[in-house]
Structure formats: C-alpha cells, structure tokens
Amino acid sequence: MTETKRIKAYGDALDDGAVQLSFTLPVDAGPLARAAALNLAVQMGLEHAEIAYMTPVSQGFSFFVVYGRCRHSVDLSRLQVAEAGLEEMDFFEINDYIKEHIGRKINVVAACTGTDAHTVGIDAIINMKGYKGEYGLERYPWINAWNMGSQVPNAALVAEAVRRKADAILVSQVVTQRDIHIPNLTELVEMLEAEGIRHKVVLVAGGPRISHQLAVELGYDAGFGPGTTPRQVASFIVREMVQRKLGN
C-alpha cells in the first residue's frame, strides 16, 4: 500500500468519529466535575463531547460515561504492523520444516516465572492437550518440550535451559499489576546474557497483556498475546532458528 487510507472511528456514518469513554475523576460529582470531564474529553480530541452520565462513586470521586466524535484519524497505509506469528504453518508443515531445515529435534523450555502462578496460558502452548483444538508442542514429534510450571525463579529457568540445551525459552507472565512483569522479564534477559547464551536461543514471552512490541523492547525475539495458538509459536520459533542459523 502506498496510497493513504485514512480512517476514523465509526458510529453510524463514515468518519463520524464516534467514540465512547468512561473514567473516574478524583473530584466530587457536580458542575466542576462535569466541566473537568468535558475538558479531558476535549484534550483527547473529542468534538461534540457529551457527558452521557455522571455519578458520585464515593466521597471525592465521580464516574463518567462520555460520547463524542474523535477528530483523530489513522492512515492505514503508514501503520507498522508488528506481530509475531503472522505467517503460521500447521502441525505437519512445522515438523517437516524442522526435519528439512534443522535436521534434528529442537529443545524448548517453558515456565511461568517469578511469583506468577498462572499456568493455564503456558500449558495451552506446551502441553499435549493444547488449545482451541490444536496440539501443544509436547505432541510435536520434532520438538522436545519441557514445561517447568509456575512460580519458577529466573535462575532456575536459566539452569534448566542450559541443562536441556534449549533452542528456545518460553516465558509466561500473566500478572502485570504495577508492571511487575517488566523487571521480571528484564532480569531473565540479563541472566541469559551473563550466562552468554542469549544469542543462542530464541527467547519468547507471552501472556494476556504481552504485546510483540513490548517483548521486543525488553530484548525478546517475540511476544504473544491473548488467543495465541501453539502453532503460531512453533512457526515463529523454527523460522527464527533457521534465519539466525541456530540449528547447528
């Protein structure tokens, strides 16, 4: 695409910019609060902003529902779409790809790290049973997968990766409150670098609030968000291995 393609939010007519907002303000409900909410909406680029609802939530707090027409538009032709696993292969293609391009079984070590105890996400990717009707990596004949489970310290994960000669390390982070995942994910990268193996592995993060962009910023090769399927992850790993010539 080279020609510009600008779009706006849509309510009931093209480019009407219709957007709904809700938020709480730390001020008692009343004319001042209403004016503040409107002002905020205007700063966000809303025209014809209307306070559809204002209510006191408790002493010193009020809640708002706002509708308005957002003047901002997005040029689709200039967007950078960065998402891992865009071109996925299926179960058979992936195994064939490994056989053909790498020629040996690959090793994948996975864990939900830190104090995070949410295993369902990483289990969905790794375990036999899989997710959304797709097998997990354990079931792939050309993949050895180890799932270390939850609340795994980064140090333990690194040690296991070394022991298993991991080609790929998969980290799940589900709890993100107060950005706890950021130092945790960062620490792992630092440990791998200290260990001198960062460049030898495909390093992948995932979780409901993980985006590809965030993961790359933190020094990962890819990030996978909600709804990820095993084969998206496997496709990425094997392509990345071949591209970076990690298979030997």
Binding site: G11, A13, E50, A52, V65, Y67
Partner: protein, 526 residues
C-alpha cells in the same frame, strides 16, 4: 410456566373488546379517507410522482377538490380507463400533466363499473399474492431460528447507511430489521418518493427505500441461509398507503396500531380508525405480521399502575385485527419491560405481565419491547437491564423481541451498540433457552397474584370502554392519560362519507378471501 387465570374474566375481556370493535366497524363501514383512496390508487399501479409530488396525491386531491371523492377514487380513475382504454398509471400521468380532466369524460353508472373495477384490481392483488408466495418459498428455503426473534432498528436517516447497518446486524444474528422513520413523517399527508438520505432520528418510508432495503436483506439472507424480515411503520396520516407499498415490496412486518396515531400524534380518531381498517386488511392479505403499540403507553404512564391498560388495549387490537381479516399468527401484540428497575421484586411483576400476555394470546407472536424510559446515560447498567429483559422474554416465550440498546438514552443506535445488543441477547437466550420449561409458577404466589390483578383490572376497564364506546373513552383520556376530541387532531378533513355506489375493489376482494381463511382457522382447535 403456567398461570392459573380466571377463564370467565378472559371471556369477559374478549366479549367487551368484541363489542368495542363491532361499534368501530359500524362507524367506519360507510366512510373512506383520502389516504384510503390514495392506497387504492397505489394498488392500481399509480406509484410515480410528478415533480416530487406523488401521482396518487395529485389524483385524489383533484377528485376531492371537486367534492367527488365519495364515489371513491377507483370509480373516477376506472371510468377514465374504461372510457379511454388507458391504464390507471397512464390516466394518473395525464391528470398530473393537466392533459386530462376526469370530470369532463362521459361516466358509467357506478354500479355498472364495479365488475370492471374488480378486473382492474386483479394485477395489484396478484402482485401482493406473488410477494406473499415469494416470502413463503424463501422462508421454506431459508428458515428462521427459534423465537424469540431478534429485532433491531436502523435509524441513520440515510437509506444507504441503513443498508450497511442492517446487513451488519443480520450478520451479527438479527432476525428482523426495522427501518425507523424520520421524525415528522407521520404527519405528512403523502408518502415521499424515491431513495432518501436526509432523515432525522430515522429514514423516510418510501417505496424505493423499501425496495433498496428488501434487496439488501435478501442478499445477506441468502448469504447467511436465514430469511431476514423487514419492518416499517404503517401509521400516521398515510397508514393505508404504506400498507399498500409494504405489501407490494414484500415487507414482513408493519408497526400498525389502532390508537397510536390518535394518542401520540394527535391524529383525528375517525380518520385513524378508518385508515387502520383498510391498512390492516392489506397487511392481512399480504401475510404481513402487524406490531401493535401498547408499549408506548408505558413510556409516559407508570408501568405498574397502568399495566392493565396494556392488556385491555391488546384485547381491542386483537378484535379490530380479526375484524380486518388478520389471523392470530399475524398479531404481534405489543407490551413492554418498563417497570422502574429500582423497584423491589419488579422482575416478578415483569414476568407476570409477560406471561399473562403469552397466555391470553397463545397463538399471537407478541411483540416485546425493551426498557426505554428507565435507560440512562449509564450504559453499563442499561446493558444489564436489557439482559434481564432478554431473560424474561426467553423465559416467557415471547415471539418478536426488540433489542434494547445500551445507548438508548443517548443516540439512535451505533453499529457497536447493535452488535453488543445482539451478542447479549444471543448469550442470554441461548444460555437460558429452556429455562421456562423447567420452572413453575408457585400457585397463589406473587407472580400469579399480580397477573390475576392485572387481568381483573383490564376486564373492568374494557367493560367501561364497551359501555361508552371507544370514541368516548378516548375523549375521556382513558388511554395513556391522553384526552383527544372526536373532531380534533390532524386529518379530519380527509374523512369522507361514501356515496351510494362507492367502491373499493381491493377491500371487497381481500375481505372475502380473508373471511374464508378465518373460517378455516375457526375450525381448528385453539
């Protein structure tokens, strides 16, 4: 779920409503209106316009201006056709062009012309029958899902945007699409012509807009393998004309209430009741399901205190519908979920009311309206209100289920509002699909008690109306707390006493066929 109701009271209600309807029929029998006459011309094929003015209006106005409408527009147009060997459309064109003076021609005696008029009516009747058969065939091929059928409105004001929104709604699971009318159309004494893109709070009802939307819905229906029904508003000063256009363009449902225009648009009651009868006859013949407007009472009156007026009005609408040849499956009798959400045990009363309607009119599909007046800018709470409404509907087996919009208090629906409404309704109705079959109402409990109370009040109310007649009841403000005088309101000037020799060839032919069908219904067990 079953309520134990007093069947004697139910009979009383029906008997009173029957008397009310019979009185109305007596009154309207020898009258016509400009709108009825225009509808006849439209069915005769006069659907063009000259300089934006519909030919039907030009011709009827010309006849009325001469004070000759009492023989019926069909007589004058038919006379010209026969005298000149022209089609009705050609006659209308010439009248509009000022090339033909209907009154300058020689005249057949009215009675002499009637067989010819019946002849002239054939193609119109045939076209309607074809549309009906078309619908039946499509429904057989593209069956609809289980009731409650999900009904959403589109209301952008622009028929082209309406199409986008309607097709999207169908994809999201809507069974029925209503194109809401622009404000003000109901008070126009003509039906605008052509495709329109500039309504407010709705889109003009025009024959071309009907066609455009019908085509769009057929398209998406084929794609989805489900027939998508199309609805418009057969009310206001052009009620019968819109019925005619809807019949010609295969609409499937029509908002059509005996009293709505009187109460909420201040249209003259004589005019409305006459128009209503012919429009319903056309709807009946076209196999169209009508939606009555009892729900509107509750947008101004209190839903707990005035619940019985809804029930009473349903009985009246039922009897007037029967009188116009409609069959029970065509009666989308209206009611609504409008009790103050902050009332303790309000849901029990809603269930009582919904179940009462269900039981009183077992064969009617029932049109169930969502909460509107208690919807606020709090879209979240509103979404939940709609959730309990959806639940009540599936629990009590309603037929035509209008979806509430979380933004009801804010704007006519956005695409996402409709998407969320459909998603919510599908979730609740699927998740509670057979709940109504698994629960029983405690005998002698609050729910049953409430239903019995509403029924008793409705019976009393109907007895009073039957006593004084519908006109007097309207004058006394017995419905929706609105008082209307017999000769007040808009459109009385369009009411005309029929002369000896008057002829409405469509009404005659349709009525004959419809009576026959009703007689067959009567033979079947209820």
């Amino acid at each position: 779920m079953k309520l134990n109701l007093d069947s004697g009271l139910v009979e009383n209600c029906r008997a009173a409503a029957q008397k009310i309807a019979a009185d109305v029929q007596d009154f309207i029998r020898d009258k016509t209106t400009v709108a009825v006459e225009r509808a006849i011309l439209r069915l005769l094929g006069i659907n063009d316009a000259a300089d934006g003015v519909p030919l039907a209006n030009i011709v009827v106005d010309a006849i009325a201006a001469r004070g000759e409408l009492n023989l019926g527009a069909a007589y004058w147009v038919g006379n010209a056709c026969k005298q000149l060997g022209l089609s009705p459309a050609a006659v209308a064109q010439q009248v509009a062009a000022g090339e033909l003076d209907l009154f300058a021609l020689p005249r057949f005696a009215p009675e002499e012309l009637h067989p010819y008029l019946r002849q002239l009516a054939r193609p119109g009747l045939q076209r309607i029958a074809d549309r009906r058969r078309e619908r039946e065939e499509m429904l057989a091929r593209l069956p609809m899902g289980p009731a409650p059928w999900l009904y959403v409105i589109v209301a952008t004001g622009d028929i082209m945007q309406d199409v986008v929104q309607a097709q999207a709604a169908a994809e999201q699971g809507a069974d029925i699409i209503a194109v809401i009318r622009t404000t003000g159309q109901s008070l126009l004494d003509y039906v605008p012509h052509g495709a329109t893109r500039e309504g407010f709070g709705g889109t003009y009802a025009t024959q071309e807009n009907f066609r455009i939307m019908r085509k769009a819905l057929d398209e998406v229906g084929e794609r989805l393998g489900r027939y998508i029904m199309l609805v418009n508003y057969c009310s206001g000063l052009c009620m019968p004309e819109i019925a005619a256009l809807g019949a010609l363009e295969r609409l499937d449902m029509m908002l059509n209430d005996a009293l709505y225009g009187i109460l909420f648009r201040d249209i003259n009651m004589q005019r409305t009741l006459i128009d209503q009868n012919f429009s319903r006859t056309i709807n009946a013949y076209a196999g169209i399901i009508i939606n009555t407007g009892e729900d509107n009472y509750l947008t101004t009156a209190d839903a707990v205190a005035e619940a019985h007026t809804v029930t009473a009005s349903q009985f009246i609408n039922e009897q007037l519908a029967l009188a116009a040849g409609l069959r029970p499956w065509q009666m989308g009798l209206g009611h609504a979920f409008e009790i103050d959400p902050d009332l303790e045990d309000g849901l029990l009363l809603e269930i009582a009311q919904a179940l009462l309607a269900r039981q009183l009119f077992p064969q009617a599909p029932l049109k169930y309206m969502p909460p509107t007046k208690h919807m606020t800018g709090n879209i979240f709470k509103g979404y939940l209100l709609n959730g309990l409404f959806n639940l009540t509907s599936v629990l009590t087996g309603q037929g035509i289920h209008l979806l509430g919009m979380l933004t009801e208090a804010i704007h006519t629906p956005f695409l996402q509002d409709r998407y969320l409404a459909l998603e919510g309704a599908k979730y609740v109705m699927n998740n509670a699909r057979h709940l109504g079959q698994e629960l029983e109402i405690r005998a002698g409990g609050k729910i049953e008690g409430r239903a019995r109370e509403v029924l008793a009040k409705a019976a009393e109310f109907l007895a009073r109306v039957a006593d004084i007649g519908l006109f007097a009841a309207l004058e006394q403000g017995m419905f929706a707390a609105v008082k209307r005088s017999r000769d007040g309101g808009k459109g009385l000037e369009g009411v005309v006493m029929q002369a000896q020799g008057y002829c409405n060839p469509f009404l005659e032919e349709m009525s004959t066929e419809l009576r026959e069908a009703q007689r067959n219904d009567g033979n079947k067990a209820d």
